[in-house]
């Protein structure tokens, strides 16, 4: 799920950036540092939407670096257990398939793939129903439900299932979004 929240970070700035554009440089550095990262607690920081406040800078003892506490607004993405997401299949394996929903990777094990879908190895490994009507292969879009998340300090990984109602393939690879 996406959230829009205010986070704070202490940005350290080298003295060479001091000057007229100090604030801009600070903001640029913040964006470079933070966008795309993941914190276990908040989730993936997708984009910074604005700077709320920049506190007074403190010069660090011994070096010329200055630390600014910056409050910024950002969009974060954090997957939750029980959430239903659409994802794109990235790899199909005998043990299941991997899919990506934005920055988060989800693994669906074969145990949670409907029983009538069998793994077909080959050039393009895929899962197919016995009558060939439904196929899960690389680049297919699937709707899955997250049943478990593993949250490290800087990484979030999920397990999903497509065994429930209304889950499974949405569209095949190559179909337009």
């Amino acid at each position: 799920m996406f959230f829009h929240m205010v986070l704070e970070r202490n940005m350290q700035l080298h003295p060479r950036h001091f000057g007229r554009d100090l604030r801009d440089k600070l903001v640029a550095k913040l964006m470079k540092d933070v966008e795309g990262t993941c914190s276990g607690h908040h989730g993936f920081i997708v984009a910074i939407t604005g700077i709320e406040s920049v506190g007074k800078g403190r010069i660090r003892d011994g070096t010329g670096f200055v630390v600014f506490p910056v409050k910024y607004q950002c969009v974060v993405f954090r997957p939750f257990k029980g959430e239903i997401l659409e994802a794109v299949v990235t790899m199909v394996n005998k043990m299941g398939f991997f899919a990506e929903a934005g920055p988060v990777q989800i693994f669906v094990s074969n145990h949670l793939i409907p029983d009538d879908m069998e793994f077909q190895p080959g050039d393009i490994p895929n899962y197919t129903t016995s009558d060939g009507s439904v196929k899960i292969q690389k680049e297919s879009e699937v709707r899955l439900k997250i049943i478990g998340t593993r949250v490290d300090a800087t990484e979030i990984f999920c397990i999903g299932t497509i065994k429930d109602d209304f889950l499974g393939v949405i569209s095949d690879p190559g179909a337009n979004s």
Partner: protein
């Protein structure tokens, strides 16, 4: 008063259902025909149902068991949360206290410990069945069993586990990222690079080979079978649980409390074997079979009755709550406070410059209340309102505060109107509509609004109630 019989039955059923093959032998020791002691758990639990707090040595003697064995069993039960244990240092004298207490409960447990009379501190262990926990634990166990089977049955959202056959290391699907190998399509162990095997359907036996479809179906059926067998076999236990559900749980308290109680009872047990005092019933101290007063019971009684009295007193002393108008129905015999009339009135009137008006109202309301006739009140009220109205017109004292006041007024008057009218007649919706429209919109127009009200009210008063419904 917690009679322990249904609970004892519960304990016995649970013991036979779940613990009948527990053995206290270690894994390595041989279980020969001679030294196999399976089922000992059942025996111990059964004995405990007949006693309350028992010293473990005594229990061992009674059961003709080795103390160590018994201890192991009891330790197991403690971990299963069926039994509470208490270990305390005692001299032999202290042990005598316990003996006396036990004797007093009517259970004849003559332990000849008088011989050991040295002033050494031994650690004596006592144990007692913990009924409350037993009830919870048995229910939890059943729930977990059912859940496990059901999950397997539906292949619900269980996180897959993987085992490495080489080194036995276990992984879950959450680790899948680290396990996936670029070379082949299997998961590899992190340490030994062996191919991982999915650990699926732990309950169903996997030796059905891998005729995949069939295997799945077989597993499915097996699990269904297990589930139904379980339900059939555990039915008496489940029934007993249901029976016990609403009964108060027999509680013996901790060792000291129980001892003190039993001791006191023992003293007075010679004469008065009076039935246990009902005032203690809520605690369920002691059990049905031991009728005796308790230490400090008098105190408790007093407290109880004191509380009872106080409760009542408090009840009567609590100032009558102002009933909200929607609660006031026709014909309710309410005090004026409950109607919130006088108080509300004083509140509103204090903001205006018309205290006499409220007094008038008060006196009139007092009279009316006695007769519980609302009409007079309403009349008086409206009269007062009109008077107030006029005063306000004279003083022209209705700027901004008037708005807020009027809102307040409006609200309270509305309440009263609503209340009043609902008292006379249940139907006041028409009137409601008027007010809601008029109220927020009017700022300085409240005067007019009020005048309207008055007219309307007075007019309708003269007529019959029937007219109200039209209005």
């Amino acid at each position: 008063m917690g009679s322990a019989d249904p609970f004892n039955r519960l304990v016995k059923l649970a013991a036979r259902a779940f613990y009948d093959d527990i053995t206290t032998k270690g894994e390595n020791q041989q279980k020969t025909g001679r030294s196999d002691n399976r089922g000992i758990a059942v025996v111990v639990l059964d004995t405990l149902t007949k006693r309350q707090w028992v010293r473990e040595e005594d229990l061992a003697k009674d059961l003709k068991l080795h103390t160590k064995q018994l201890r192991r069993t009891l330790r197991f039960f403690e971990e299963e949360k069926l039994v509470t244990r208490d270990h305390r240092k005692e001299t032999a004298k202290g042990a005598k206290v316990y003996n006396a207490a036990v004797a007093a409960t009517g259970d004849s447990q003559q332990t000849g410990r008088e011989g050991d009379d040295k002033q050494k501190m031994h650690v004596h262990s006592y144990c007692c069945l913990d009924y409350a926990q037993i009830y919870d634990v048995v229910r939890y166990r059943l729930h977990r069993m059912k859940k496990k089977l059901k999950d397997e049955l539906e292949s619900k959202n269980t996180i897959q586990e993987y085992v490495c056959p080489n080194c036995g290391k276990r992984y879950t699907a959450l680790d899948a990222l680290q396990l996936v190998s670029p070379y082949d399509e299997y998961f590899h162990c992190e340490s030994c690079n062996g191919v991982l095997v999915a650990e699926s359907d732990k309950l169903a036996i996997q030796d059905l080979g891998d005729g995949d479809d069939n295997a799945r179906k077989h597993r499915h059926d097996k699990i269904k079978d297990m589930l139904s067998k379980m339900e059939v076999q555990l039915k008496p236990l489940i029934d007993q649980l249901a029976r016990v559900k609403d009964l108060p749980i027999p509680e013996y308290g901790n060792l000291q409390a129980w001892e003190a109680r039993a001791h006191a009872s023992g003293r007075s047990a010679n004469g008065d074997l009076t039935a246990s005092d009902p005032s203690k019933s809520s605690q369920g101290f002691g059990f049905g079979g031991t009728p005796m007063p308790y230490v400090g019971e008098t105190k408790v009684e007093v407290a109880f009755s004191g509380i009872g009295e106080k409760g009542e007193m408090v009840k009567s002393e609590t100032p009558m709550k102002v009933l909200p108008p929607w609660m006031i129905k026709d014909g309710m015999n309410l005090t004026k406070e409950q109607r919130g009339e006088t108080k509300a009135e004083t509140k509103t009137d204090s903001t205006l410059t018309a205290p006499e008006v409220s007094d008038d109202k008060k006196s009139s309301t007092v009279n009316d209340e006695k007769k519980s006739i609302q009409d007079e009140y309403v009349k008086a009220y409206y009269a007062a309102l009109l008077m107030r109205q006029r005063e306000q017109e004279e003083t022209m004292n209705r700027p901004e505060p008037a708005n807020t006041i009027s809102n307040e007024d409006y609200y309270t008057t509305t309440e009263r109107q609503v209340g009043m009218k609902s008292k006379r007649d249940e139907d006041h919706e028409g009137d409601d509509v008027n007010w809601e429209e008029a109220g927020p919109t009017t700022g300085g127009q409240t005067r007019q609004f009020k005048v309207d009200l008055n007219e309307e009210a007075e007019a309708s008063e003269e007529e019959d109630d029937i007219d109200w419904e039209e209005g």
